[in-house]
Structures are given as structure tokens and as C-alpha cells.
């Protein structure tokens, strides 16, 4: 079963047309000494029925957001996905197409990506957006590289310790071999200490990386932080939760120069961490330094409006080692999902979802911190997620919740780069619009003696 067409008779006809006797003759291009003299050691093939049974049985061993009430966060969230998103994104005309190089054959995708770019700009208050990056973490690194190109400062990136630990790890991996120093600023209070930030920013700094709401769920003073970055000629890079922008001020109004995001909350299923959606938007003046694909409006030979891949002279297939990024395949189908999600919700729907997340998260925090030995790790304003500090041990607390049918987390012990006691005693709790008051009350009751 290899989805093949050629019948034995056709195979013979084709071989005859080529002028060889067998497929083996065609493979003689490969020196004999290099050819594998055995079959690959792979599991036996399965029929569709057997495959379905096998995969269902494995899938059944996983506990998902629908099987256990999900308060898990840390960058991926159980938000509701309207049926239209799945329906449209499962159209073969979209998901079995290639990158839209051939504009006449790809107007559907190109227009959708142009709409995506516009919606992202409307949401973030920025001027231009690319057509997607891999996911939120690499988007931060791409933004840092972009800031180095814009400022021509290649020695120093300053990043808050309240940025997602995995995003910071990626930044280290991406720059480890370069002269660029990554300076991390401790955030013992859960948000940036402006004095500490000021001390670390200097004339060599290319950018300051901020996350809003930050990894701990807390809100940063983005305007002040952007001003500090600008005061030394550095760019302000802000990573946002797109759902929060249904309520929070747009980073474009707060001095951000480059906005990045993990777009998973915009209609993308959890699927164990990917594929998700990297978002990157910036101010107009930096557009020629932007990484990745971007779609531009154009006019065809009949004067008709149309869409094409734009500014391709920045990209690897033309500029090779001088390209603004090595990215080629991006996350087209996820950008499409986000576009459909945003068109369905509009500003009003996003506002309602943000409002529900915010209210329920605050109710959950209030209920859980009313328990003995449980408190908020940080006394800061938060949006849909917060860190609990549990006196008797966060692990036991999470275990008791799990026993009763609730997943909370992640436990902060899994992040090596966090400092104690945040790391040893903290657990994240995220509350989306999908959680009900009954679930929150039942969670509270389940953990009260943990």
C-alpha cells in the first residue's frame, strides 16, 4: 500500500519507453557498493483498519484537555475552537497546496495570508506583519536577530527573566556561537524591576525583550520598558498573548518596535506542542529587515488586484547566505486557522473571550488562595494565568488535583533556569473561557487538604 498507480503492465510499457528492462536498471545510477543489500528493518505494514485500531489504542493512553479539566498553561492553552476553523482548514485546496510561489495558482492562499497580515496589524497596532514563523519561541530569536540588523548592534540582547524560560533557552541556542551576549534580568517580584533594567541597557544593546503578559501571567509596564530601550537606541521587542489583546493595550501604542507572539490561542489545537504559529509584526521603517515570507498586494496584466509573495530579495532562495533568515517553509495552514478564527470573533468576540478568561482566572485565584498554605507567588496584576506558591509542596498539590480530575501546571520545577523559591514552590494555573465556575469550585475542594 504505497498509494501507487502503475499496474505491472503499465510499468512494463513505461520501462520499454525509457529503453530499460527493469526498475533495477534505472537504479544503477547508484553505485552498487552503496546500495542497501537488505530490506529496511521497519514494522510490518498495516491496513487502514489496523492502523486506526493501533493509533486509537495509543491515543487512548493520553489524558487530554477533554478528558481531564485543563488548567494547564505556560504558553499553550485550552481555548475553544469554533467548528468553522476546522471545516475550512480541512479543505484539501488549502492544506495540500505548496508555498504560493506561482501566484496565478495560489490566489486563495495568498489572499488569506494578506488578510492574516492585516488582522495581526489591527490586533497588535503594528504597521506590517510577515506571513508567519515556526512558533512563538523562535519568533523571539528572529526578532532579536532583526533588531541586531536594524540597530547594527550585534553584541548584546537584554531579556527579562519573566520571559518564557523556553523562549530564553532558544535565544541562547541561536546565539551561543556568536559574539552576542544574552543578558537576562532577574525578576524576583514577578515583573521587571525598572532600575535593574536601566542598569543593563547600554549603547551596545540591540533590543530589550519583554513578554506581556509574562511567563508568570503578570502584566509588565510595556510603555516604561519601551522608553528605557529607546533611551539607549535599542529596540523594544514585545512577545504577547494574542487573546489578551481583546482587553490589554496594543503594544503598537506602547512603544513596541517588533511584536512577536505564539499564535496557538487563535484557533490552533494543542497537539502536544506543535505545529503552532509564530507571529512577527513591526514598524514600517524596518520592513526590509523582516524575516520570512510576506505577501504583497499587486496588479496583474489586466489591471486586476491580486496578491504575490513580496520582498523576496530578503529571502534565502535569492539572497542565500545574506538572507534575513534561513526560514523557508513556515506555518501557512496555522496562519490560515488564525485568520479564520480572528474573522469569526472580530474585536467584539476577542473582547468577550479575554473578559471571560480574565474574570474566571481571578475567581480561580481568589478561591485557591483562600486555602491555607496557598498564596499568589507574586502580588501583581495578571490576565488569565498566575503562579501559586504552595507551602506543603506544589507537587502534592498538583497530584491531588490530578486524582480528582484536574490538570494544573506546569510545575515550575521543570524549568531549570528559574530561581528558587519560584522554581521549587511554584505552579502555574491557567484559566480559559472553557472552564466553568463549577470546575473551579471542585478544583478548590479537591486540593484544599493537599
Amino acid at each position: 500500500m504505497s498509494y501507487l498507480f502503475n499496474t505491472p503492465q503499465q510499468t512494463q510499457e513505461m520501462l520499454a519507453a525509457i529503453g530499460v528492462g527493469s526498475i533495477g536498471d534505472l537504479l544503477e545510477q547508484i553505485p552498487e557498493s552503496l546500495r542497501l543489500d537488505r530490506e529496511l528493518d521497519l514494522p510490518a505494514p498495516k491496513s487502514e483498519l489496523e492502523l486506526e485500531q493501533h493509533v486509537r489504542s495509543l491515543a487512548g493512553q493520553n489524558v487530554t484537555a477533554t478528558r481531564r479539566s485543563c488548567f494547564l498553561g505556560g504558553g499553550a492553552y485550552d481555548h475553544f475552537v469554533p467548528a468553522v476553523v476546522d471545516e475550512i482548514a480541512s479543505r484539501g485546496e488549502f492544506y495540500t497546496a505548496y508555498t504560493p510561489y506561482q501566484a496565478e495558482a495560489s490566489q486563495g492562499s495568498l489572499q488569506a495570508f494578506f488578510e492574516f497580515q492585516t488582522l495581526i496589524c489591527q490586533l497588535t497596532g503594528m504597521d506590517v506583519s510577515n506571513a508567519s514563523l515556526y512558533e512563538g519561541g523562535t519568533a523571539v530569536s528572529e526578532a532579536a536577530f532583526m533588531a541586531m540588523r536594524v540597530t547594527n548592534r550585534h553584541d548584546r540582547v537584554v531579556v527579562l527573566g519573566s520571559v518564557h524560560p523556553e523562549f530564553r533557552q532558544i535565544l541562547h541556542t541561536y546565539t551561543d556561537h556568536l559574539p552576542c551576549e544574552i543578558v537576562e534580568i532577574r525578576c524576583p517580584d514577578g515583573v521587571a524591576d525598572l532600575n535593574l533594567v536601566k542598569e543593563q541597557l547600554d549603547e551596545k544593546t540591540s533590543c530589550l525583550v519583554v513578554q506581556q503578559p509574562n511567563f508568570f501571567g503578570c502584566l509588565e509596564d510595556v510603555q516604561e520598558l519601551s522608553d528605557l530601550a529607546h533611551s539607549v537606541g535599542a529596540l523594544s521587542v514585545v512577545s504577547v498573548d494574542p487573546i489578551s489583546l481583546g482587553m490589554l493595550e496594543r503594544p503598537g501604542n506602547l512603544g513596541a518596535d517588533i511584536v512577536v507572539a505564539e499564535g496557538q490561542p487563535l484557533g490552533i489545537p494543542l497537539q502536544y506542542g506543535g505545529p503552532y504559529l509564530g507571529i512577527l509584526a513591526c514598524r514600517n521603517e524596518y520592513v526590509r529587515k523582516i524575516p520570512g515570507r510576506i505577501v504583497s498586494l499587486a496588479t496583474d496584466r489586466n489591471g486586476q488586484r491580486c496578491f504575490v509573495l513580496g520582498l523576496q530579495t530578503r529571502e534565502q532562495h535569492i539572497r542565500r547566505e545574506k538572507a534575513t533568515s534561513n526560514i523557508c517553509t513556515n506555518q501557512g495552514l496555522l496562519a490560515l486557522r488564525a485568520t479564520i478564527y480572528m474573522s469569526l470573533l472580530g474585536a467584539d468576540g476577542l473582547g468577550q473571550v479575554a473578559d471571560l478568561c480574565c474574570r474566571k482566572a481571578h475567581y480561580a485565584a481568589e478561591q485557591l488562595t483562600a486555602l491555607d498554605g496557598v498564596e499568589l507567588m507574586f502580588a501583581q496584576p495578571f490576565f488569565k494565568e498566575f503562579v501559586l506558591r504552595v507551602e506543603n509542596g506544589a507537587e502534592r498539590f498538583v497530584g491531588a488535583a490530578r486524582e480528582a480530575g484536574f490538570d494544573i501546571g506546569p510545575l515550575l520545577t521543570r524549568f531549570d533556569t528559574l530561581e528558587d523559591p519560584v522554581r521549587s514552590e511554584g505552579v502555574l494555573v491557567a484559566v480559559t473561557e472553557c472552564r466553568s465556575r463549577d470546575e473551579i469550585d471542585a478544583l478548590r475542594d479537591a486540593v484544599q487538604n493537599a
Binding site: N6, T96, T99, G137, T138, R250, Q271, N326
Partner: protein, 491 residues
């Protein structure tokens, strides 16, 4: 049957007051929002976004979808892209609740089914590559290249060797040099050779103790197997360097030969090409890498390990390799695409996989033969899974370019081949039929190209005629890029 109204931009379809979603009322005690989030953090006004009904959105995107060519609707012989059939069973299985709704921070004991799949995927990819150590983390081929080059850099650093140079042929994908530059290496490009293959003598002249990695696609982007690969790899190894295999063309050699057997030390797969994760109109992909055992400790984490207890109980765990270069992305990887690759491999098995490559090679050679009178292939007697034909003769004789041919094919209902790549072939048309196409389709495609070869050149310069738009002015768009909609666009 075009619906021009529904394919206006979303922003033009918007009517104030329309809504598509309704959300539940809050069920928690009402508190003033100011008590929850101080006003200084909140937006003064809502973002300006379109207002649409659900039916508006559905009709808009369904109509947009009809403005695409796709594998589900058309023959899509885009060279280097392996546009093969994407089985529908993969979509249903990847969407199962147990896979699609699993949170990346779910505990290991509650994710054993997923971890088993990912572990088995690592094992299968290691076997197919002949390179046993696998990381599933890279999000796409280009990130796989970058990851491997960082692995190489870490390896040389541990050995106390300062190696700064990455070498690649002129026919390499643009991602090769771009990834090398990103990883901090100096790029050295070989000159094209008349055969289309790497010239070992020329390569030798660049090899020295500063050589870190030689990157090569095999079969190469001309669809030719690098017959001297064994010797080439030996030369690179003798110079102390590593050989990287760009796996974009793995569809030609599955179960026939393996990168690890022909001298490769590291490689990436494009699961969205070779193993039929659909391409999604530009991703998502998945670019897992496979490397030799001596590089295993440098792989990015996490990887999946299998532990068997004394009583035989098997547990799958996430672990970071001891000298890991670190993390390349958040969470585990592009799991949704890795799953589809896993389903594919479990459906095909060893013989099925080999049959894929045999038929990909058969189809490509058949089509090459059918077209040689009008679109000759300058390099090689035969090809592997794809070939690069040249429209130079048509251009010289009739002024018809590769682009004219590509655009006109759309009118005949075929997606265009890749054009003008690789640069070493004049008026290049890079054609990859894949194994999931019939002789009838290949014959019809050949007939179309033969018909085009006799059509009026003036007419061809204006093609296509049947697509929603024709010949966008990309130069003007590049000079004055218009990257978002704004209300004044409609004035």
C-alpha cells in the same frame, strides 16, 4: 462560476454590527474590571477588525480555496517539493482527541501513548537514514540544517578544533548557505561543473583544517545521484570535516540506499515532503534530523527514551542529551506533522517504502523520456525522482521562456514545475512527478507541453488565461510593497 463578491477582502465584506460568535455569560461573581486589571494596562478602544457573520466567513474562505491549485485537485509536479498524495486517514487520526488535544506540558505518565509514537518515529527515521541518533525537534528542513550545523559546531568545540568553513555546491538550496551563515560559519560555494555533479578535485582544493561541514543534497537538485559520494565523503572526513546530507530528495532512495551508508554524518528529513505531511500552502513542516552515534550527545532536547524495568514494564520518558546544544523551539516539535509521517511509515512498511522510491524514479524517467524532444535535460543520461529540463532551445528559437511554459501549463490544468532553479541550468524547469501519479496523467502532461511547444509565442507571453489573475507585476509590488489593507485602498 466565479463568486467575486465573496472573495472581496474580509475588511471590505465587513458591516458594523455583524457578529459570528456568541460566548457564554460569565458564571463567576461579577466584579468591576478595574478591580481585576488596572485601567492603565487596558486598551482604551477595541482593535479595528472586520465584523462578519459565520456564513460570510464560510463563503469567503470556501471561495478563496477554489482559487488554489492543490494536490487534491491538480497534478503538481513542483520540483524539489515532492507534492505527493496526502492520505485522508492521516487527517482523521491526527485529529483524534488523544493526540490533537494533548497539552505539551501534560505529565509523562499521562502521555505514554504519544511518547511511544514519537519514540518509534525516532527509531524508524534512524533506520531509514542509517544514522541512529534522531531529534524530532526541528520545525522544518531549514531548521534541521541549522540545528545540525550547531551540533557540528559543538562537536568541534569539544574537540578543541577551530573550523569555520561550510562548503556546498552551487546547486544547493538557498537554505544551505542561509543556515550556515546563521550558525556563524563562512560560506564557500563550489563552481558548477558541466556534469551537474560535484567535482571531487574542485572540492579537494577547498578542503583544509578549517573545513567544518560539506553540505550536499543527494540525489542533488538536478535529480542526479552523486556517484562519487563515497569518495567525496572520504575526502571530507580525511580533512577532519563532517558531511551533511540535505534530505529534500529522500523520496528517490528510500530503502535503496541510506545517507549513513554513503558517508553522511548528519541529515534532515522533510516529513511534509517525503512522508506526506501535507504542505499546508507553506507549512507546517517537520525537519527531524538523524546523526551518527558520536554526535548523539549534542542533539537538541528533549528526545524520547524507552526504559524497560526488570519486570518488563516499559516507560517512555523525555530527556535532554548530556551535551545538548539546547533547545531549538518551544515544546517538543511539530508533532502534528510527525504523526502523519508515522502513520505513513506504519502503513507502508519496508517494501511499501521502497516501492515509493522505485515508482518515483520510474515516473520521472518516463516523463523525462517523453519530453526530451522539446525540453531536453542537459545533465545526465537518466534521473532519479526528478529532472531539470531546459527551455533554452525554445527560448533561442521562438523567444518562449521557461516562465511562459510554466504559466501556460496552468491553462491546461497542471501546476507549473519549479522554474529557474537550480541556476546552473538555463531556462530551468524542474519537474518532480512523484510516485502517486498515473501514466495517464504523465501522458496528458506531456501532451500539454508538446501542444505548448507549437503555440504562438505572443500568446504564450500573456498566459495564463483561465486563472483568476494573470502575470502580476511583481517588480512594481517589490518597489512599493503594499503589505496590509487600509481603508484608503478602496478610495
Amino acid at each position: 462560476m466565479k463568486n467575486e463578491q465573496a472573495t472581496q477582502l474580509l475588511f471590505e465584506l465587513s458591516v458594523p454590527g455583524r457578529t459570528a460568535t456568541r460566548w457564554p455569560d460569565s458564571d463567576v461573581p461579577d466584579r468591576p474590571i478595574d478591580d481585576l486589571i488596572p485601567s492603565r494596562y487596558r486598551a482604551e478602544s477595541a482593535p479595528s477588525m472586520p465584523e462578519l457573520t459565520e456564513a460570510d466567513v464560510v463563503r469567503h474562505f470556501v471561495n478563496l480555496s477554489t482559487r488554489n491549485f492543490s494536490v487534491d485537485t491538480h497534478f503538481y509536479p513542483l520540483g524539489s517539493c515532492t507534492m505527493k498524495y496526502n492520505p485522508k486517514r492521516h487527517e482523521r487520526l491526527a485529529g483524534l482527541d488523544g493526540l490533537g488535544n494533548l497539552h505539551p506540558y501534560q505529565r509523562e505518565e499521562d502521555s505514554q501513548g504519544m511518547l511511544q509514537i514519537l519514540f518509534e518515529m525516532q527509531e524508524m527515521l534512524g533506520e531509514i537514514a542509517g544514522l541512529p541518533a534522531v531529534s524530532l525537534q526541528p520545525a522544518a528542513g531549514a531548521q534541521g540544517e541549522f540545528t545540525s550545523l550547531l551540533v557540528a559546531a559543538a562537536y568541534f568545540r569539544d574537540r578543541g578544533e577551530k573550523r569555520t568553513k561550510v562548503i556546498f555546491p552551487s546547486s544547493a538550496h538557498g537554505t544551505n548557505p542561509a543556515s550556515a551563515a546563521l550558525a556563524g560559519f563562512d560560506c564557500v560555494q563550489l563552481d558548477p561543473s558541466p556534469t551537474g555533479l560535484v567535482d571531487p578535485e574542485q572540492l579537494q582544493s577547498h578542503l583544509d583544517d578549517s573545513t567544518a561541514v560539506f553540505m550536499i543534497t543527494n540525489p542533488n537538485t538536478l535529480g542526479l545521484f552523486e556517484k562519487d559520494i563515497d569518495r567525496i565523503a572520504g575526502m571530507v572526513h580525511d580533512a577532519g570535516g563532517l558531511v551533511y546530507i540535505d534530505g529534500a530528495n529522500m523520496n528517490a532512495i528510500l530503502g535503496i540506499t541510506r545517507p549513513g551508508d554513503f558517508g553522511g554524518d548528519m541529515m534532515h528529513y522533510n516529513v511534509h515532503k517525503t512522508f506526506t505531511g501535507p504542505h499546508g500552502a507553506g507549512g507546517p513542516g517537520a525537519g527531524p534530523i538523524a546523526v551518527r552515534s558520536f554526535l548523539a550527545d549534542y542533539l537538541p532536547g528533549p528526545v524520547v527514551r524507552k526504559e524497560t524495568a526488570e519486570d518488563g514494564t516499559v516507560t517512555y520518558r523525555l530527556a535532554d542529551p548530556p551535551h545538548s546544544i539546547g533547545r531549538m523551539r518551544s515544546f517538543f516539535g511539530n508533532v502534528g506533522i510527525l504523526l502523519r509521517g508515522y502513520f505513513y511509515l506504519r502503513t507502508l512498511g519496508a517494501q511499501g517504502l521502497r516501492a515509493v522510491s522505485e515508482n518515483a524514479v520510474l515516473n520521472a524517467n518516463y516523463l523525462r523520456e517523453k519530453l526530451k524532444d522539446i525540453l531536453p535535460v542537459p545533465q545526465g543520461e537518466r534521473c532519479m525522482h526528478e529532472f531539470v529540463a531546459s527551455a533554452k532551445k525554445q527560448k533561442d528559437e521562438r523567444g518562449v521562456t521557461a516562465m511562459d511554459v510554466a504559466k501556460r501549463l496552468l491553462d491546461y490544468g497542471f501546476h507549473a514545475p519549479t522554474v529557474y532553479f537550480p541556476l546552473v541550468v538555463a531556462e530551468a524547469l524542474m519537474i518532480e512527478p512523484t510516485e502517486t501519479e498515473s501514466k495517464e496523467t504523465l501522458d496528458a502532461f506531456s501532451d500539454a507541453l508538446h501542444a505548448i511547444a507549437t503555440e504562438d509565442p505572443e500568446m504564450l507571453h500573456q498566459a495564463p488565461y483561465t486563472t483568476p489573475v494573470s502575470r502580476p507585476d511583481e517588480v512594481a509590488a517589490g518597489r512599493k510593497p503594499q503589505l496590509t489593507w487600509s481603508p484608503c485602498l478602496n478610495d
